[in-house]
């Protein structure tokens, strides 16, 4: 915060920050008290009066472009999902290799993809996306899969493994079980999903999740966030009605992700959107280091927009220079307007 900006924004604040304050209002108790002043006082660009145009033409406000209401059943919290990693039950094999055991159970559930809109999903462990599995390069991974659903399912892990561990041919019948076992390689941002036909339906109904294999030497300490770009064809016409990161449309617009100024943020970005060829991630007011598939520790590009095909992944690393609310969204405007849009709320850090 610049001291000289305080005096001038006294006058501009009501007009300029109305939009921001409305959004912040949706924060509820999350960090508003702490961060409210930080961005209400930031100095605006000269001549910026976005909100004022709305009074005459109705254009220009983001407040209207969103869902109405809050989730009716709080079964899945996308904010919680961001930082929730399942590192498995850890033990040591006689060879000295680390063994990580996970359990995944496929079942039929209802997912609330926007307030009041319920989607008949197929899910691993009762959530879409499934739990984020995490291990270290070279670990022995063992996944106990149980199919509690009424259709046959599998788990297909992206990675290097034996043919019968690929989840492509050994279809698990309803009520059946299968154990997948392999060494975690290569390090990077992988994913897992059902590989039963018809593929489109099995994947788009929700059978997917993130699988992170950390490099042995690790990555720099950061605020780590998992973002799965997904969509839901709620009326089954072959087109998505709702888009999101982590299932709930507009969730991070209504509940911004609070990060700190100067803090390293790492996003594990996975695209599992069905029906549309590509999805993308655009960050406002910043650029990020892009690590394609996360398989190299040297970054591939410094950009603010990346396009990912279906099943493609990328690790993004960035640090915010300025405090305040910043958008992130698909740069396909259609996807953004149908729910794939969110906010980072960068809290001012005294250390900067």
């Amino acid at each position: 915060m610049k001291g000289d900006a305080v005096g001038t924004t006294e006058r501009r604040t009501p007009k300029l920050t109305r939009r921001e304050l409305l959004k912040a209002g949706a924060l509820g108790t999350v960090g508003l008290a702490a961060s409210g002043t930080a961005f209400a006082l930031q100095s605006p660009a000269p001549g910026a009066s976005h909100a004022s145009t709305r009074d005459t033409t109705g254009h220009g406000s983001h407040d209207d472009m969103t869902t109405v209401g809050e989730l009716e059943r709080g079964l899945f919290d996308p904010t919680n999902f961001l930082t929730r990693f399942d590192t498995g039950r850890v033990s040591r094999l006689p060879s000295g290799q680390t063994l990580r055991e996970y359990e995944l159970d496929a079942a039929e559930i209802e997912v609330e993809v926007a307030p009041g809109v319920f989607f008949p999903a197929w899910a691993y462990n009762g959530q879409v996306p499934g739990p984020t599995l995490r291990c270290i390069e070279g670990d022995r991974v063992r996944v106990y899969f149980k199919n509690s659903a009424s259709h046959p399912h599998t788990i297909h892990f992206h990675g290097v493994h034996a043919s019968n561990m690929d989840g492509a041919f050994e279809v698990v019948a309803p009520g059946g079980r299968y154990t997948y076992e392999f060494d975690a390689e290569p390090f990077g941002l992988q994913l897992y999903h059902c590989h039963t036909v018809p593929f489109k339906r099995h994947i788009h109904k929700g059978l997917y999740g993130v699988f992170i294999i950390d490099p042995r030497e690790g990555r720099p300490l950061a605020m780590e966030l998992v973002m799965v770009m997904n969509g839901f064809d709620t009326n089954f016409d072959g087109e998505n009605e709702v888009y999101a990161v982590n299932t709930v449309a507009f969730h991070y617009q209504k509940h911004p992700i609070v990060i700190r100024q100067g803090e390293l943020v790492r996003v594990y970005l996975v695209n599992v959107t069905e029906f549309d060829l590509v999805n993308s991630f655009h960050l406002h007011g910043n650029f990020y280091k892009l690590y394609r598939t996360g398989t190299s520790l040297a970054h591939y590009e410094w950009t603010d927009n990346v396009m990912l095909c279906q099943g493609e992944r990328a690790v993004l690393e960035f640090t915010y220079k300025h405090p305040g609310p910043f958008m992130f969204h698909a740069h396909q405007s259609e996807f953004a307007e149908l729910g794939w849009i969110g906010l980072f709320l960068v809290e001012e850090s005294l250390r900067v």
Partner: protein
Amino acid sequence: MPTWLKATAPLFLLAVLVFAFLRVGPLGVFRAAFPPVEELTVERITLPRPAEMRVHVINGGPEPVTIAQVLVDDAVWGHVVDGGKTLERLASRVISIPYPWVQGEPHVVKLISSTGLTFEGTVAIATQTPSPDARYVITFALLGLYAGVIPVFLGLLWFPFLRTVRREWLDFFLCLTIGLLLFLGAEALAEAFETAARVPRAFQGLGVILLGALATFLALGAFGRQRARAGGGHQALYVATLIALGIGLHNLGEGLAIGTSYATGEIALGTFLVVGFLLHNTTEGLGILAPLAKERPTLGQLAWLGTLAGVPTIVGAWIGGFTSSAVWTTLFLAVGAGAIAQVVVELWRLFAKRAEAGGLTSPRNVAGLLTGLVIMYATGLLVPA
């Protein structure tokens, strides 16, 4: 067993059964796991002011429907529903959406129900919806005046000419009138079927058409028979009145359609359209006159006939412009078709009474009827709506 019991026993048992079903709930085979069949119909979308849309919806399906979210042009948009978000069967709501619609461009509104089903409504060409103020009352009155009243009265000006026509050529004009009416009746029926497709399923568009058309046809027929028995006066004037009424009801439906199209921006009241309606509907006046050619109607009677046939267009334009409902439009069109069918029957009767007229074996009569159809077809080419 008394008669009243015999008459009501099945109804009584039916009531018991219905009550039991409603109390106990569905049984066996009816208790299925499939999701409820939802059906929402967007009846009308109005644009009362910049950056506001109003979507009028009705639940015409068998199950309650909950409106969960609203999309405009594939963007999720904020909205306010004037009442609960769950619509019981046949309940209706108005959804206000603060969407910055664009003048002259189309828009699509999509409602997402709680089960994820979507229901669409479209704005063909966005333009601010007329509100019932003086300016638009006059606009719609003019619309009706051009499309209905002026043409009919112009047609009535053929009266002096018709009086000079010889008897056998008068049959030609009567047949021409029958041709015109057949065309109008078929047109009204076709339009009724068209709008019936937009009627919420619960209101059964086909039922509305059957009831409206048949009830009008039969009621007018019965009324004519009563009147003839009572020895009620002037047969030719009666038939002329009936023609005027039939045409008037047809024009009411036409006015409704024009008013709705104009209000929703589907048509512009251009010169071409006005000229088209003038030519198309002028022959309606001629039709009213045909049975009166050998009579001596007063000017007042002629004016009354013209009013009866023409003015409903204005009334229709008002109703269609300011409210519009597929159910009512369908009903009016069906009533018009039924009335016209009865008029054709009456005309035919008037005609067939005279053996020398030769019926439809006379080349002249056939030519007259076909001319009527051809005139309507040819002038119809000028009406794009």
